[in-house]
Symmetry: C2
Subunit: 224 residues, 2 copies
DNA sequence: CTTATATTCAATTATTTAATTGAATGCTTG
DNA sequence: CAAGCATTCAATTAAATAATTGAATATAAG
């Protein structure tokens, strides 16, 4: 290979490695997951991931420098968001490769689900078909701002913290499917457990909005 | 969030970051690109990326530890290969995010193509359709072992080094489309330039076999 | 203009990563 | 069994990365 081709390759991979480096930190991967649910402020993100605001901010600078997130000022707050759907896809692929290839990921995940009584696999694909056909009542049990940022069309927003109050409004003889942020989020596990305790017929759809989008389906923003 | 949820998240992202760290090095990204064309020995890879065998081997250990590549011994040689298609997809998504989001990637790439007289964009999608309909003669100008590892069905293997000898066998009045490893490989550029100089009507399809696979199309292995 | 709040920056320290070099290991051949 | 070849390992050195802490900056409110 000529030396100018060599130089070109070196430059190109140096640049692409910026994205790899952005993904090389556990904290930054969590930041990206948090942002995949919708835009947030630094303080809110820092609380979610249990890190100092300064440390969170530094990691956000690295992600922004790699152009995988963007920011805009809103008064004293800075709102961060994922740069685009392709970045969302990148996070999804990395997680799927991790789940498929790293035994440790599966071990950690199964321990997590077993502790919460959610290890039993439902038929996720059949459930998805029934959701799409409108055969079940779909609950989004994430916080309201994440629902507003984007949700499965037809889903009802019932944040976990409001489930007790709103449970009585749910049709008692219609099957319920609850989802939240994704396979590793406990909200839908908790919601399904509570609903079934009260005699509802609830099932957890273990994916999240990002997975729905990755499947090519449209989402709804705003209140409906 | 309860402390056991926090611990779970910390463990999970620690594990997923192993893959991010694997991708955080320019050399390892190039190794993955090289392996996306087919399995190779350490020495052959080291030559391709212009690194020492020891350094190449160390990076390969990191990639293997992250489970994105696999190895098998073949006498004194060790053959390395990508772990599966999902890893191929991960590399593809990372490159697309880089190309879409990092101005520097586009700058480096355009300079590279301009220097080689290949900056003019052809309509890649129309070309693909014509390839799929069998309307053109398709040449794979990569080395033979990469052709054997996997190629577009119906493509003829004409490694760049053999183009002069084999050119006379090509139908003179049928349009030719040449491809190689991907947008940043010079073989198809060189091949198209030479063919057009000799009066053939040749166009470059700038993607590679990995992109063909990412589009969901089947590839052919072996000699046909 | 001053104070409060949110966020970023800079310096420091500790840890991790990367390239080099020479030794060690595994397989093949004579 | 010894020599050759391919590959990996280990130690060393230098560079890069990460968390903490305190200072600096930007915006809003009184």
């Amino acid at each position: 290979m000529t030396s100018s081709n060599r130089q070109f390759k070196d430059s190109l991979y140096e640049q692409l490695a910026r994205i790899g480096k952005a993904l090389a930190s556990p904290i930054r991967l969590e930041l990206l997951d948090v942002l995949s649910q919708g835009p947030r402020t630094v303080e809110s993100i820092a609380n979610e991931v249990n890190q100092s605001v300064a440390n969170t901010s530094q990691h956000l600078q690295i992600l922004r420098s790699a152009r995988v997130i963007e920011s805009e000022r809103n008064g004293v707050n800075i709102i961060y968001r994922l740069a685009d759907q392709e970045v969302l896809g990148l996070c999804g692929v990395l997680r799927r490769v991790g789940e498929a290839r790293l035994l440790e990921v599966r071990q950690v995940t199964e321990a997590f689900l077993r502790e919460r009584g959610a290890l039993e696999r439902t038929d996720n694909e059949t459930l998805l078909e029934r959701v799409r056909r409108g055969e079940v009542t779909v609950l989004d049990v994430r916080p309201t701002d994440e629902f507003l940022a984007g949700h499965i069309p037809g889903a009802i927003s019932v944040p976990l913290s409001e489930l007790e109050q709103k449970m009585a409004d749910l049709p008692p003889d219609r099957e319920i499917v609850a989802y939240c942020r994704g396979p590793l989020c406990v909200m839908s596990i908790e919601a399904v457990n509570r609903l079934n305790e009260k005699g509802y017929q609830a099932t957890r759809w273990e994916e999240g909005v990002a997975d729905w989008v990755a499947r090519g389906f449209a989402i709804q923003t705003g209140a409906v």
